[in-house]
Symmetry: C2
Subunit: 210 residues, 2 copies
Amino acid sequence: MSLPTKKRVVIIEDDQEIRESFSLIVNSSQRFAVVGAYGNCEDAIASLNRDKPEIVLMDIELPGMNGIKGTQIIRDKSNSTEVIMVTVYEDSDLVFEALKAGASGYITKSANYTELLSALEEIVRGGAPMSSRIARMVIDNYHINPNSPLTKRETTILQLISEGKTYTQISEELFISKETAKTHIKNIYSKLQVNSKSEAIAKANHDKLI
Amino acid sequence: MSLPTKKRVVIIEDDQEIRESFSLIVNSSQRFAVVGAYGNCEDAIASLNRDKPEIVLMDIELPGMNGIKGTQIIRDKSNSTEVIMVTVYEDSDLVFEALKAGASGYITKSANYTELLSALEEIVRGGAPMSSRIARMVIDNYHINPNSPLTKRETTILQLISEGKTYTQISEELFISKETAKTHIKNIYSKLQVNSKSEAIAKANHDKLI
DNA sequence: TTAATAATCACCCAAACTTCGGTATAATTT
DNA sequence: AAATTATACCGAAGTTTGGGTGATTATTAA
């Protein structure tokens, strides 16, 4: 019988030392093989069709195109390729940008032999490797802000607005008059300092009010 | 010197056998102590001020109030209490509802001795314990749907709509006429089968189009 | 390489909806 | 008692939406 095919891994990392060290670690495994190691996204993307990686280990800070943009492009060109961000930063905004760009994991550069390989294994198993801190960041991102300036009723109405309901629909759903709904919405706008439904939704999402 | 104070744990689980088994496991640890074990949320909430739990292990399916609603109320009354959902289901919608309700972890009932205790340890460390499958669900929830029916331009415009921009602002930002923006938006509405900005945002978020 | 299709841009009009600026009362909470 | 919350109404001004029409520029397929 033949050995199971090794998963094809591409490494994008501008620091040559780290790149080579990661390559050694990945290649040391029976389950993975580095099919490309690049110092920037541009080169990696140019070789994408030849490399056909199942997994990409991606640095964020890179000369030229950064890792977020690179992730976006790679995922756009090859949807089945899974990207794991490997970075020194655990900065909140960067994490979410990377996830939105299509990353499926987020580990730090301090990752040792075991951590790196188990992240790869985790991806293959259909999981999403990430550090405790990142996991918590991601989970907390779902939590509603307990310091909302809105009253219970206003929050309910904002919720309905975010579901795309009109004044009339809101008033019907809550058994209040259209004018009352209007008043509540005016108060919401004034508290959030916005002046349209969409702006209110944007602010509500950003500040986790709903 | 005195021993470090044990973390106060409350268990809410209607199956008496599981409840007692979990209690034994938690109490076996030097770091945790079960201060209350209930078969429903109502009783647990009534005793909340006396129990003052740092951590709640919460079942989802419960007689009376379900675990999602219970989580909401507990988090509302005691914001510093961390809730870990313990359930047989890994159903996508339930997971996200639980997270939105304020849960910080999500493990399955099949959790053994080690898994349960390490989930508790993880919470104390400020992490967010969850299974591979859940982690992946959560991460995938950030990913944009590659099968969007919208063109690139339409997606850009939908993005601006979701940021609360008006027709005028969108046209200025993209250097196109207001009428053109309007045309794009009409096309977006027709593709998404909606007829207002807020509805489009709701659909876009739900279907991960932006 | 042409033909067809998709994407982007632009304008008009009328109807509908939303927003802003007021005013006001009852119920609840502090 | 005072403050907050939830309820309700009016009218004017502004924005959005629906239904058309049509042109120019990619992009794709035959």
